[in-house]
């Protein structure tokens, strides 16, 4: 009988210690010590092979991104083409991102406001999303695209970078300026397309 009581007491004490540590001590400790990571997304270079071209000619676009902050679980370099609704006239020549870039067509649902998929909108134009997952501190990746404008006039490209999870303003680039349909800042580039 005494042994049974001692055993029951020991088991009870062990379980009490377990639940106190699991449900209180450790959670409190982690809340105090775990700080959100702060990746810093940057576009360090955008190169266009031409500043003007004739209709039917091809344009080569090279975009380089880097992360100057903490490791990002995922960082995206987005190259958007407001003149296109589909990526049919875009070809990826080469890239060194960890994963294969994917394409966005107009009307595809996409995240907005740097909130990932918590808030979505429908895309209004085509874009190429190159990403690395994870994106380590100091790593740099480049994508090179060949683009064939489909009409005369100003051919526009918009470029941005977003690190996820988006924990601070430095996780997106640029940090100010023009906003796209996703309510996210972009840098804008254009070339003149003339008659052939």
């Amino acid at each position: 009988m005494l042994r049974a009581i001692i055993l029951a007491g020991a088991v009870g004490a062990a379980l009490a210690i377990y639940f106190i540590f699991s449900l209180y001590v450790f959670p409190q400790s982690f809340q105090a010590s775990v700080k959100p990571s702060r990746p810093e997304a940057l576009i360090t270079a955008v190169n266009l092979s031409r500043s003007d071209l004739a209709l039917g000619e091809k344009l080569v676009v090279s975009v380089t991104g880097t992360n100057r902050g903490d490791r990002a679980d995922m960082q995206i370099v987005s190259v958007g083409f407001p003149n296109f609704t589909s990526p049919d006239s875009i070809r990826i020549l080469q890239h060194d991102f960890r994963q294969r870039p994917f394409t966005i067509n107009a009307t595809d649902p996409v995240g907005s406001g740097y909130a990932g998929t918590e808030e979505t909108v429908n895309a209004t134009y085509a874009s190429i999303e190159a990403f690395s997952r994870p994106w380590e501190t100091g790593s740099t990746y480049t994508i090179e695209l060949e683009v064939t404008p489909e009409a005369e006039g100003n051919f526009i490209m918009v470029v941005k970078a977003v690190a996820l999870p988006h924990t601070w303003d430095g996780a997106h680039y640029p940090r100010e300026g023009t906003m796209d349909y996703q309510s996210e800042f972009v840098d804008q580039y254009s070339v003149k397309v003339t008659k052939p």
């Binding site: 042994r3 049974a4 055993l7 020991a10 088991v11 062990a14 379980l15 210690i17 377990y18 540590f21 699991s22 449900l23 450790f26 959670p27 982690f30 809340q31 010590s33 775990v34 959100p36 990571s37 490791r71 679980d73 995922m74 960890r98 994963q99 294969r100 990932g116 998929t117 918590e118 808030e119 997952r133 994870p134 996820l164 999870p165």
Partner: protein, 361 residues
């Protein structure tokens, strides 16, 4: 040992050892496959690999290879005794499912690209793992039973118990994971479970699996202290290696996760105390205790299941897994304790009834 050909004692003796070796090899193979599969899930979350040739796949398919060799050994040694006993048939059937899942998976990838966690080929694969590990476990018990005298209780060596139970536990956990984790949406198909179904199934399935496996380990050891604790420790270590250590952001939570050995040892002590053995209540209590640890034992992946229900759209990135998990621990865990305790008790009772009465022999 009493086999069906009493005139071939030497043959039976040697064949009996081959039979056991086959069972052990099948179990070890499934352990590697299940462990590799668990690591693969983590690898996909961290690195989104796009190639078949990744280290977790190497471990997984090495395990499949070992299981195939084990099944051949098991089946052939059983046949030599004049009769293919049902554990050998079960293990062989499981391995056939395992092996056939490979080419089906390849065809599926070719047609539909990379698949998610739940897909028809993956379901066949995990079902094969469950079946073959069950067959191996039953085979080990069958092998031992051949040497028992009348009335002697079945008792396996603790090392054999761990080798038999751990792969079955991992495979069953993988089966529950398939229907609870939101990792099955691809370009072509959306096999993600309904979030409500997922949280309910997790609260029922995981406690049942934990309790059935751990209490089964205790019963197979003759309710002696130790085997259950060692099996639990092996699960904790395997999960640490496959789900926590690969993610740098989670390394600080290793002590939190290691604490899970405490309720397992406590349950083992309850079950092994001999003056309580005639009673059912210790079985229910032990099952309930290990059942309610499911939320901690299946960290960190369980955060994805419950996050999908409480905050759909919020992604559980590797770097924010800790705050999201502990938020869920505070808000959701108190609600799932009662069903988890109940299903843990049910699992313990099921294991007690099956294993203690040799129902599988």
């Amino acid at each position: 040992m009493s086999y069906s050909r009493p005139g071939s004692a030497a043959l039976a003796y040697g064949t009996g050892h081959k039979f056991l070796a086959g069972c052990v090899l099948v179990s070890i193979g499934i352990l590697l496959a299940a462990g590799g599969g668990s690591w693969d899930i983590t690898n996909h979350l961290l690195n989104k690999p796009e190639t078949f040739f990744a280290p977790p796949h190497a471990i997984l398919y090495s395990g499949v290879g070992a299981a195939v060799v084990g099944a051949v050994l098991l089946f052939s040694s059983s046949k030599r005794l004049g009769k293919v006993v049902w554990p050998a048939k079960m293990a062989a059937a499981g391995v056939i499912l395992l092996v056939s899942a490979g080419p089906v998976d390849f065809v599926w990838h070719s047609a539909f690209g990379l698949d998610g966690l739940l897909s028809p080929p993956h379901f066949v694969l995990v079902s094969g793992m469950v079946l073959s590990s069950m067959g191996a476990l039953a085979g080990m018990a069958f092998h031992k039973s051949m040497s028992l005298q009348n009335g002697e209780p079945l008792r396996l060596h603790p090392a054999l118990i761990v080798i038999a139970i751990l792969p079955l536990w991992l495979a069953l956990s993988g089966l529950v994971d398939m229907f609870t984790l939101p990792f099955s949406r691809t370009d072509y198909f959306n096999f993600d479970p309904n979030p409500t179904f997922a949280v309910v199934f997790a609260a029922i399935g995981f406690p049942f699996v934990i309790a059935a496996c751990l209490c089964g380990a205790s019963v197979l050891a003759g309710r002696r202290f130790g085997a259950m604790s060692i099996t639990g420790a092996a699960f904790v270590v395997t999960s640490m290696l496959s789900a926590i250590i690969p993610n740098d952001a989670l390394l600080d939570t290793i002590p939190f996760y290691a604490l899970n050995i405490i309720p397992i040892v406590a349950a083992d002590a309850i079950l092994s105390y001999r003056y309580w053995r005639p009673f059912r209540i210790p079985v229910y209590a032990a099952g309930a205790i290990v059942g309610i640890t499911f939320f901690m034992l299946y960290y960190p992946l369980i955060a994805h299941t419950y996050n999908e229900f409480t905050n759909i759209g919020r992604i559980v990135w590797p770097s924010v897994t800790i705050p999201i998990y502990f938020e869920l621990l505070a808000t959701v865990y108190p609600l799932v304790v009662p069903p988890a305790a109940a299903m843990g008790a049910v699992g313990a009772l099921a294991a007690d009834k099956i294993a203690a009465r040799n129902k599988f022999l």
